[in-house]
């Protein structure tokens, strides 16, 4: 009797334990302490309060000196007149630094990477005045470094890996700039008179790129060609009136990149090539279809694009970007006015020619670039390849001669390669091998990334805070 009762109690206890265990198992959540990573955890506000700032483009003018110069040299825009970063002026330049660089003049700048244009003895660049918080278009004498005038406007820019970072575009009568927060300004380069301005953020809903605007404006005939990347992908503005002549719609909602518009002619058809954040496109630049998208591709669409498209021969285009994006080589084909894109090569930076910030140079049938930091063993080396096979590096500058994110250009058959720390290297512009000539530390250097400008035997370069003009004429 006692034994039966004992067993019954034992069974009931087991049943009770089983039910409790089941309920615990059923209700237990093993991931209850997990948190879900969803958008918005960083508490970023929906709207940037700075976007409400009222900016009166070109509101201030200060004149200091007048100048008449006999110089006729020109460096009219980003990468020079032919968009190739090659100086064509027939002036013999130095092969070595001799007793040291001949510094013609020096000027202190707001932190950034903006670079100048040079036109008939005058130097123009868009600086940022950190003390007064103004974008300032400054005009200097090429020979003396004296400031002639400045046209400025108040705009609040925070330090963010530099502030200014664009190169103006200039012709006889007009000078166009784009400021860090997408303010386009057109002035008379002879007098500094303000002609017109466009706030791309307000008028085109442009999203200001990371680290501010890097796009350099283009002047093509009577038009300024700008890529807002907001409600319109590209606009053409009449230089005389500031009126928008045509605009390209932006159906894919591509955004403005740091890349600049490059011209290209394919089978007699002139077009503008632009690498936006979202994709690369070709826009008709002439005829009845001006502003029409002729072709586009989303094969290469990194989040950040600093280099500009490198236009090669026969419709081939090389495009590269940093942050692990690598590069793409593609060909634009035309058949009965129908355009198509064929990808020839697409690879990561460790597998071929690439660049993080500067646009490679196409010279004598070969391409030249400084490889990015994520290019493996050849990182930061100056390299050469045949544009038919960008994954086959023909030669490099070697382990001893590495460079950074600084600019490089060709003048008088020589490469001028600027390192981040302000060291300028001269090398023979050979397609056979890297022929080092000389190097000199010119700037104190930090982030010496601004593009170079050449004219009349002078070279203008900068680091993040200082610009210098060097006399590089060969005696």
């Amino acid at each position: 009797m006692f034994k039966k009762g004992y067993i019954r109690v034992l069974v009931l206890v087991f049943i009770f334990i089983g039910i409790v265990s089941f309920l615990w198992w059923f209700t237990y959540d093993p991931v209850s302490d997990f948190t879900t990573s969803v958008p918005g955890l960083d508490n970023r506000p929906a709207k940037n309060p700075e976007s409400d700032e009222i900016v009166n483009i070109g509101e201030r003018f200060d004149e200091y000196l007048s100048l008449t110069s006999s110089l006729t040299g020109k460096w009219t825009r980003f990468r020079g007149a032919d968009f190739d970063n090659i100086s064509k002026q027939d002036i013999s330049l130095i092969d070595n630094w001799g007793d040291g660089p001949k510094i013609q003049w020096t000027v202190n700048l707001g932190e950034g990477h903006a670079a100048p244009v040079i036109y008939n003895g005058k130097v123009y660049f868009l600086d940022y005045n950190e003390a007064k918080k103004r974008d300032a278009l400054r005009c200097f004498s090429l020979e003396t470094g004296e400031e002639l005038w400045r046209r400025s406007y108040n705009v609040h820019i925070k330090r963010n890996h530099g502030m200014s970072r664009t190169v103006p575009a200039i012709n006889d009568n007009y000078l166009v700039t784009i400021g860090p927060r997408c303010h386009v300004m057109c002035t008379d380069p002879n007098t500094g008179e303000f002609l017109w301005g466009i706030d791309l953020v307000k008028e085109y809903n442009t999203e200001v790129p990371f680290w501010y605007t890097g796009q350099c404006p283009m002047i093509d005939g009577d038009l300024a060609i700008i890529a807002p990347g907001g409600s319109s992908l590209i606009i053409a503005v009449d230089l005389a009136t500031g009126k928008v002549v045509w605009e390209t719609p932006n159906p894919d909602k591509w955004n403005m990149s740091h890349s600049s518009i490059m011209p290209m002619t394919l089978k007699g058809k002139k077009m503008y090539v632009y690498a936006a954040v979202g994709g690369i496109c070709g826009i008709s630049a002439e005829g009845n279809d001006k502003g029409k998208i002729l072709w586009k591709t989303i094969e290469f669409s990194p989040t950040v694009i600093a280099p500009s498209p490198l236009i090669l021969d026969n419709g081939k285009i090389f495009m590269t970007a940093g942050y692990g994006a690598g590069a793409i080589l593609f060909e634009v084909k035309e058949n009965n006015e129908i355009y198509s894109v064929e990808v020839m090569q697409k690879y990561k930076p460790i597998d071929g020619m690439a660049s993080e910030q500067q646009t490679p140079i196409y010279y004598n049938g070969f391409m030249f670039s400084v490889l990015p930091k994520d290019a493996g063993g050849m990182r930061n080396q100056f390299v050469c390849c045949n544009p038919n096979d960008c994954q086959n590096i023909l030669w490099t500058s070697g382990k001893e001669d590495r460079f950074g994110l600084g600019p490089y250009a060709i003048a008088d058959g020589k490469f001028f390669i600027l390192n981040d720390d302000g060291t300028m290297t001269i090398a023979k512009a050979s397609t056979e091998k890297f022929i080092f000539l000389d190097k000199a530390k010119i700037l104190d250097g930090m982030d010496a990334w601004g593009p170079l400008a050449f004219a009349d035997g002078y070279l203008i370069m900068r680091d993040s805070k200082t610009m210098v003009c060097l006399n590089i004429k060969k005696n």
Partner: protein
């Protein structure tokens, strides 16, 4: 005879007394020399050199501890506080949000906090970090290199032969003095070391 006994008695007491004194003296001298030796001699611990580190990922898997004693440290002095952080976001991320699919860290060990437009602060959650070094690689390749791997000496058991050092392909592990156990690269101030 009596004189001899007196001398013997005295000697025994004297012997015990002297023995005790000598023992205490030797003990104190030994303790003193041990303490002096400890204070002047350096003990060494394992640490990795960020300049040599190639972020191969073996720190996460070779350590005798699970998760590894190697953690990511943030050298705030070097950080650019970027919106697009190469250490936080996967390459080619389209929208810079805290969504899981955008994050490079496999364990969500980096917390992104808005400071003011366009700056963000990035903090490491030590408990979640497994020392894989993916963020360190991203930060070094595209940023200032402010994220750095280090052996966390609050966790490290200081094995005689460090298992990670044995596996490290870059020979980045070295013995460093215990009183200065961190070897950050760049310009992190000593007082900021954690």
């Amino acid at each position: 005879m009596a004189k001899k006994e007196k001398k013997k008695k005295h000697n025994r007491r004297h012997f015990i007394d002297r023995s005790l004194r000598i023992s205490i003296g030797l003990g104190l001298a030994g303790l003193g020399s041990f303490l002096i030796k400890k204070s002047i001699s350096k003990e060494y611990v394992w640490q990795l050199d960020p300049e040599k580190c190639i972020q191969c990922g073996r720190c996460a898997t070779s350590c005798v501890l699970t998760p590894s004693a190697v953690k990511c440290f943030h050298v705030y002095d070097m950080c650019g506080y970027c919106d697009l952080c190469g250490g936080y976001f996967r390459p080619e991320t389209k929208k810079l949000t805290t969504a899981a699919e955008n994050q490079l860290c496999p364990t969500s060990a980096i917390v992104r906090k808005f400071v003011e437009e366009p700056f963000f602060e990035y903090d490491i959650v030590e408990e979640l970090c497994n020392g894989c070094g993916k963020c360190v690689k991203g930060c070094g390749a595209f940023g200032n290199g402010s994220l750095q791997l280090q052996v966390n000496h609050r966790l490290c058991v200081n094995c005689n032969e460090c298992a990670i050092a044995r596996d490290c392909p870059a020979d980045a592990y070295q013995r460093v003095p215990m009183d200065d156990p961190y070897t950050f690269s760049g310009y992190r101030n000593k007082e900021n070391k954690s």
